[in-house]
């Protein structure tokens, strides 16, 4: 428990098995960024196949077999693993594990998370889960290929699922430990004077997110155990009686239900999508306030909206299951709750938009990413509405429309917010700024090509092109008119990949040669900027912190500067 700062730590203790939340946050950050690039690469291989069907894939073709052409089974594996890796190994660890761990203790003015060793354990559990997931590519039978949703009966018979399930258990454990830590930290360790309604919106986002993780993940863990039993112990939790596979009756007891899996899976997976967006909204809030030099508009409504959103997220999940033969009553119930849950999202987005009104806007790179989040998330959210209404969902379910919808929310939505956070907080972590020039070179093409990939998906989806098709819909008459978009989307994807190169270069160069800045280069009000850059090992602040003000006291009438830090009397 005592963070022995007066004992000399060896290399292993200081950098590898550190219990300092900043090191752990960086570990999460680096690992998750690597996984994001890996998951993105998998998708680029898929997009090659979709644009140029049955032509050898360049560069990595040799890894795919003799002909270099992407086989359907591998395509399915890439699809399942792309989703799994991006969500569970990429976005959530970055948004919660990296940003949450690094900045929650700083923004609440304390020395570390409540349980530093548990924090390290949660990172290493994530790491092991990641290794297990990636190793599945090298196992006989290959990686999982039943979608990130792992629906039975297919997932009981397809190869790669057992290792996927084991990997998920490690990842779920990591999330649970991490979110317990965040909840206890925020409740117990806030600095004197930091009342609940003085918390930065980023901390509120992390707090609600952690509740979602703590309460929604366990049923999926239970379901994963059941699916593991089905795969290795010949049980039939999810296999109905009378099932025939590959021409032969399946030799299990039967009497199970594939729907049970769907319920337990989506009970988590719906709150999971709010886990993907809430930290991002938190980051956007911080950056908007800072770069408009105004307080966030409607802080209280933002807080109540985010709490209400978290609560509602638990009772909408079956809108992913409208086509499972649901009765009218329950379908109406879930449609209603789904419509209701759009309200807090709109409240949050509206408050953000209004926050811009009358602001002295600074268009630095973090702000560009944060600003673009608003319309991008807007498109993502609005395109969700036809999916939440049963009647239109019948037409759109499992089409490219769905893929377009959720990617808009997560890719130019959450990922842009996370990039914004990296540009914003890089000076706090390293004491240097990232280059603005390279930042803009990263931002503008990324924005353009994100839209290039995902906007046509709505067109294809509305035409009825199904998702998860190896040949991109070629065999279907209804797809013929929209197939030409495939090449356009794929080229956009390759260009999006290229657009990340300035970012990578920027990070490496700026770490050593970036413009050195003082501890508060953006003129921000929240507590993390009161610490040195980087914050002191183990104790963060030079002296104990006391809070006297609300989180966004920008342009206070009569103040000498256009910002007043929370810790200033």
């Amino acid at each position: 428990m005592s963070s022995d700062s007066h004992h000399k730590e060896n290399f292993l203790q200081k950098y590898i098995f550190s219990v300092d939340h900043k090191i752990i946050g960086l570990q999460y950050g680096i690992t998750s960024l690597l996984f994001l690039f890996f998951g993105f690469s998998l998708m680029m291989i898929m997009r090659w196949q979709l644009a140029y069907p049955e032509t050898p894939v360049p560069i990595v073709g040799s890894l795919l077999g003799e002909t270099g052409i992407l086989l359907p089974e591998i395509y399915n594996s890439l699809g399942a693993m792309h989703g799994t890796i991006m969500i569970f190994l990429g976005v959530v660890p970055l948004a919660v594990g990296a940003f949450g761990n690094y900045f929650v203790p700083l923004q609440i003015g304390t020395v570390d998370m409540a349980f530093p060793r548990l924090n390290a354990a949660s990172y290493w559990s994530y790491f092991i889960g990641g290794v297990v997931m990636v190793s599945s590519f090298f196992m006989p039978g290959g990686a999982a290929r039943s979608g990130w949703t792992s629906y039975p009966p297919l997932s009981i018979f397809e190869s790669g699922q057992t290792i996927w399930l084991i990997g998920m258990v490690f990842l779920i454990t990591s999330s649970l430990l991490g979110s317990i830590n965040i909840i206890v930290t925020i409740v117990q360790l806030r600095a004197p004077g930091l009342s609940w309604f003085r918390l930065p919106f980023f901390v509120w986002g992390q707090f609600v997110t952690s509740f979602l993780l703590v309460l929604a993940f366990p049923p999926l863990e239970a379901a994963a155990i059941l699916q593991l039993m089905d795969r290795v112990a010949s049980t039939s939790f999810f296999l109905p009686s009378g099932l025939v596979y590959a021409g032969a009756p399946v030799e299990v007891y039967g009497s199970g239900s594939p729907l049970l899996w769907q319920h337990l899976f989506w009970f988590l997976a719906h709150p999971e999508v709010y886990v993907l967006i809430l930290p991002a909204m938190g980051i956007v809030g911080e950056i908007l306030a800072n770069n408009t030099r105004k307080p966030l508009w409607g802080y209280k409504s933002l807080v109540y909206a985010v709490i209400f959103l978290g609560f509602m997220s638990f009772i909408v999940w079956a809108h992913h299951m409208f086509l499972t033969g649901m009765g009218q009553a329950m379908s109406a119930f879930f449609q209603t709750t789904t419509m209701i849950i759009s309200i807090p999202s709109v409240v949050i987005l509206t408050a953000f938009f209004i926050s811009l009104w009358g602001g002295s806007i600074r268009y630095n790179t973090p702000m560009l990413f944060a600003l673009s989040f608003l319309p991008m998330f807007g498109i993502g959210g609005l395109t969700g509405l036809p999916l939440g209404v049963g009647a239109s969902d019948i037409h759109l379910h499992d089409t490219y429309y769905v893929i377009g919808h959720f990617h808009y929310v997560v890719a130019p939505g959450t990922l842009f917010a996370l990039f914004a956070g990296i540009y914003y907080w890089f000076p706090k972590i390293t004491g240097r700024k990232l280059s603005e020039g390279l930042g803009k070179l990263h931002f503008w093409p990324s924005l353009i090509f994100m839209n290039g990939i995902f906007m046509p998906m709505f067109i294809q989806g509305l035409a009825g092109v199904s998702r998860r098709l190896w040949d991109g819909g070629q065999l279907y008459a209804h797809a013929q008119d929209v197939l030409q978009w495939n090449e356009f989307m794929s080229i956009s994807a390759f260009c999006l990949g290229a657009a990340q190169i300035p970012f990578v270069i920027n990070v490496f160069i700026s770490m050593f040669n970036g413009e050195k800045v003082d501890r508060n280069p953006w003129g921000a009000t929240t507590l993390e900027w009161a610490a040195p850059s980087p914050p002191l090992p183990h104790v963060n602040f030079e002296s104990s912190v006391e809070v006297y003000r609300d989180p966004y006291e920008y342009s206070v009438p009569g103040a000498e500067k256009d910002f007043t830090p929370q810790s200033e009397k």
Binding site: M1, S2, S3, S5, T110, V111, D112, M113, A114, F115, P116, L118, L176, I180, N181, I183, V184, V187, Q188, L189, V214, L215, A216, F217, P218, P219, L220, E221, A222, A223, I225, L226, M229, A233, S234, T235, S236, F237, V252, Y253, G254, S255, G256, S257, L260, H263, L264, F267, H538, V539
Partner: protein, 199 residues
């Protein structure tokens, strides 16, 4: 600098960090077993009438009743071990903690005989949906018992002695927190027993 409120309570909440932490963890455990219970109910409703009752009748009520009483006793002994520490009686603590571990061991031994008895009669998780959920629920519960034994065993061994002498209040809190986890394991069984064996 130490993380605050590891031992003393934060005035605003009246809690120390571990107390809050363990309860949040137990909340997640409620959802874990809740997911499994939900699966049980769902599967029972989806199964032909009487199927679950038929397979359920193959379980041994006497063995499970004994196990219920054993686990309840272990709950009492674990809280007595905490109470002993609060009264600064380390020897009593060791006795009660030892009894708790003994009860846990007895529970596992009876479980072992239950399971092997089933296997002997050719009944495995794959034999029926009921047996599948029975083995999974009691198996996961058993893993939680083992986990609890490991933690409490660690506190019972010389490690406990060292911690008691260097930081008694912190150690007492740790036993309280371990006890909370243990009571939860008992709680799960209180529901498992009637649902699986009696209904």
């Amino acid at each position: 600098m130490q993380v605050p409120y590891t031992v003393e309570e934060r005035p605003e909440t009246g809690l120390n960090n571990s107390k809050l932490g363990i309860w949040v963890f137990l909340a997640s455990e409620v959802m874990l077993f809740g997911g499994l219970f939900s699966a049980y109910v769902f599967l029972r409703m989806a199964a032909p009438a009487g199927e679950f009752a038929y397979w359920g009748s193959k379980l041994s009520i006497p063995m499970a009743t004994v196990n219920t009483l054993v686990l309840i006793s272990s709950s009492v002994t674990v809280i007595m071990s905490w109470a002993s520490l609060k009264m600064k009686d380390f020897e009593k603590y060791k006795m009660y903690m030892g009894l708790t571990l003994l009860c846990a061991l007895i529970f596992l031994v009876i479980k072992y005989f239950e399971y092997t008895g089933k296997f002997h009669h050719g009944i495995y998780p794959s034999s029926s949906t009921f047996m599948a959920i029975y083995f999974t629920l009691t198996g996961l519960h058993g893993l939680h018992i083992i986990g609890g034994m490991i933690v409490m065993g660690y506190f019972w061994l010389p490690a406990g002695n060292k911690m008691w002498h260097s930081e008694p209040d912190h150690f007492t809190n740790r036993i309280e927190v371990a006890g909370l986890y243990w009571h939860f394991v008992d709680l799960v069984w209180i529901f498992l027993f009637p649902i699986l064996y009696l209904l």
